[in-house]
Amino acid sequence: MSKDAELNRLAGRLRSLPARPGTRIMEVCGTHTVAIRRFGIQKLLPEGVRLVSGPGCPVCVTPERFIDEAVSLARQGVAVASFGDMLRVPGSFSSLERERADGRDVRAVYSPLDALAQAEGTGKETVFLAVGFETTAPAIAAVALKAVEKKAANFSLLTALRLVPPALKALIGEIPQGDAAAQPPAGSGLAGFLLPGHVSAIIGKHAYDFLLGHGLGGVISGFEAVDIVSSLLLLLAMHEKGIYEIVNNYTRVVRDQGNEKSRGVMAEAFAVADAEWRGLGAIPASALELRPAFAGLDARRRFAIKVESAPPRLGCRCGEVLRGLVDPPACPLFSKACRPDHPLGPCMVSAEGSCSAWVTYG
């Protein structure tokens, strides 16, 4: 059977699966958010089942203050190198794209290696915006090690690395969320999680075992249409039978035990710390910060960064969208004041944000 025919067969099964009304599955990976909408998979779900987007987009959960810090650095004449996504994210008063239009040195790079090479090539003070989850953290750690090895004196990192399992724990109420104490955990009423494929390649499937104690299952999924559809089938079947497991449905890339070497490199450069998540508030032990031995690479120590805080944007419901409590259209700014060509919140600006995916793919 050709791959397309296989996909159509699975899609047909998904559409006709009996499911309890009000069944919600949450995905927590920006690339899944986009893939699902790009392939139109939310339209293949059986009656009564909804796919909800959680905090899967690293750019979206980065506090606004981070952009303000980057803008401050750019204005001091430091060359800012970043993944392309971050450039259009609005901070309190400006964005990196605007700073570039004003003549500051702001460049998009594909890899932190390119940022280090840029620093070596230009000789200018260069900071790389280290944003991402566990897929990206080892890569950034490796570059930190390289920078020390090469004694790169003009390279530093502005970190905002976050960890996925603590966010999941906060969502299901296992750890209290900073500013959401009064509300029921966002994860209540969930049937299970579609788990991030490449984060799992690093952390392994047992990092999610805590879900089982809450009667929740999880399926680690790849990013092709056939991966996502087959993973949804597995999740719904588990939920139907009342059996809860963590299933690795991406064995061609993910080993059950994850990538120990990568975790080791991560741990060499970074230590776990508490942090603020946009939309979720403060979550303990949910971020990575440079270890003391690497303090020389910390942009926050190297430069005086002045940040003024701005009042929160009225009407923006990014926080609730990020927790999967509402869909993008529920936000009063969605598609009106807040659009891909004129984004107000991170969920619209990031290519992996729920709001952006919703507008772009329908």
Binding site: L7, A11, Y110
Partner: protein, 331 residues
Amino acid sequence: MDKVLLAHGGGGSKSAELVERVFQRFLRDPLLLEMGDAARLPGRSGGAFTTDSFVVRPAFFPGGDIGRLAVCGTVNDLAVMGAEPLYLSIGFIIEEGFPVRDLERVLASIAIACRQSGARIVCADTKVVERGKADGIYINTSGIGRPVFKKPVHASRVKPGDAVLINGPLGLHGIAVLTARNEFGLKASVKSDVAPLWGLIRKCRALDVPFMRDPTRGGLAQTLNELVRKRRFGARIVEAELPIPKKVAAVCDLLGFDPLHVANEGKVVMVVAEKDAEKALRLLRRHPLGKGARRIGAITAVHPGRVVMATRAGSERIVMPPVGEILPRIC
């Protein structure tokens, strides 16, 4: 908006915003506001007239260079109006220090492209600016053409049921320029498809062709969205029918681009009545630039003003035009 941003030059919705909110407040001639690829001049001799500027970086890329692009970009804007390209003007802005040898390469390319397209350069101008003020070389070309197609090529004549055709593989030019820039450390053997299209397009001159456009900046998504915008019809394309070469797909997957947003410089999107579709494809396939011609979708009555795509997963999703710069200075 108080400053022009790089995103305004991307050919996507931000470019449209700059044109509509700033340019059109001052430049309001009815012929200009029609916003076709070329203007149809009134009167008995009524020719087609168009202009385009070229700022591609780097100036030399696999499959072509800024000179070839400058000729093909303009002759193609005429060709997709159903007009035979006749005469071109060309203006150069050259940065002090630009190697004469490179200038010779550019000029040689221009000469070859003119021969291939049949257009004659009959007036030219050159300016030189100080080092640092023009990044090598910028070129502007304007072109005059003679309408040849039986009926006017105009989107108002497109109807639901019409077939949407493309002459070959998508994404080649944008990816070729991207990899030539070496910004992402990628090396790829993708060649730009930059080519003059009149020889191909004229094969269909006896047919009734309501719409043609070359999907340059902003890619196929931009072109189709421009076609359906504010009209009473929509477009539906089929993902499995889109010819996207493996190499283009690999780069797009790696960097997170949508192949539908990547620029093409040797492609024409053609809309014809369903009854003429097979004939049009046969005619196109007779030409070297049309060997890969295929049907990719249809004009629909449902979802007017929108472009949707039937996905491989058996579902549907909308196709939005790109926002801002995907890749700056792609043509």
